[in-house]
Symmetry: C2
Subunit: 246 residues, 2 copies
Amino acid sequence: MCYFDTIIPLCCIESMLQQYPHDNRVLVATDCIIFGFDGEDLKVLLIKRNFEPEKGKWSLMGGFLNENEDLEVGAKRILHELTGLENVYMEQLQAFGEVKRDPVERTVSVSFYALINIHDHDTELARANNAYWVSLDKKPSLIFDHDRMVTMALQRLRYKAALHPIGFELLPEKFTIPQLQRLYEAIYSNTFDRRNFSRKILSTKLLLDTGEKNEQGATKKAILYRLDQERYQRQFNAFLNFISDF
Amino acid sequence: MCYFDTIIPLCCIESMLQQYPHDNRVLVATDCIIFGFDGEDLKVLLIKRNFEPEKGKWSLMGGFLNENEDLEVGAKRILHELTGLENVYMEQLQAFGEVKRDPVERTVSVSFYALINIHDHDTELARANNAYWVSLDKKPSLIFDHDRMVTMALQRLRYKAALHPIGFELLPEKFTIPQLQRLYEAIYSNTFDRRNFSRKILSTKLLLDTGEKNEQGATKKAILYRLDQERYQRQFNAFLNFISDF
DNA sequence: CTTAGAATGTGTCAGCTTAACACTTTAAAT
DNA sequence: ATTTAAAGTGTTAAGCTGACACATTCTAAG
């Protein structure tokens, strides 16, 4: 049977052509809000742009989505290009699609935030991309709607970290409770009572005493803990609530 | 000065042409997860498709994004087309962008969930679009990744409603505490103690006694309350925590 | 070598919130 | 009038939170 002998409804032709009749196709990009913690401040990895558009200004790390590339895959590719890291905690924030958000051409950006151990990333790659760790409270203003992305990512991180134990993603494998507290204080821009914090954390049974002690510091050495991975998986959906003081 | 007298760098030409050199442009669509509450169950508004692709199957209401249309605007347009409603509580869920999620052509869908008063919507429009309210626990399977969208929207609603007073968006202007409780029980697929629930809700001071009583029911009439709009705005970020029993 | 200072680990307790449960009130149906 | 079912209000023990005290460990200064 020959197709050309019969009348073919329009929709079938479309289907054969693998195309919808709608013609408003736009670029899709990914921007990554990469969080790190240096023991003092919560930081984001920002790019001092040495390329157009908006050369010379600060922005998030981003890039266009390739053909045959899932959103998550694209975001992880871009994260890998900048940090050399894989298997990182990453979650979609949301899509940003204002018509005029990118002055060059309409681009819908799907933003992801990532939590990494700041000491694990490839400093060569960062240097090559002109990337710098910047404390959230000293953050310069960024191009396009990237400021809003960072603000919303922090808000999302606050929600998430209040209910799920994702803070650990920002720490080295072995860490002390005071370190963990400084992290939470950085995330929530708040201070917590040292004793209550310790009690709350230990009550989750998520920490295992490694038997070792922190070597840094000129005072009493703190106990180094590590995550109980099994419990971590099991209890992921039942953690604490740090929003209370908030 | 004439532009054609000078050598123009490529990037400037691109800028003048308002185009990036990247060429992977894709369709962007919006799908809406529309929640409603009929006093018994939490429901979603679903389309029995009488059009291609996947004609005859169930799906969410969706549509392509137009030129010069913001994501939110597109989503509200689509919601309006189906329900006739404006000024509805709506929030972006996230973007869904798997390469093969739409078999016809690659399409990135940005999903939004909306909370509406089920009795406010235009039933003519719904009928015209072949739309039906379906209880979440009797939901048929949907096309593409729409099942996952509904699942994630419910999850997001649970998070949000635990911390913010958005449940009221699903109720009529005047409502009783038992109605509100049935709503929360539907959202969390859980039961709560009547007396504790009442106390908890009233302690927020978010409800105002209208002086009226519910006319339905063959037993004691419940007090009709309405939202204290001013307090609602003010306290939006400090509500309750219903996750505890969860 | 001793001691001051600073950070860590552990303990206490009052006040509040939560969870579980009992009783009273209201209105329709018999 | 009585029954029945749902709504409103009250009580109490247990647990958690927030505020605070004390003891321990380490370095560095005297």
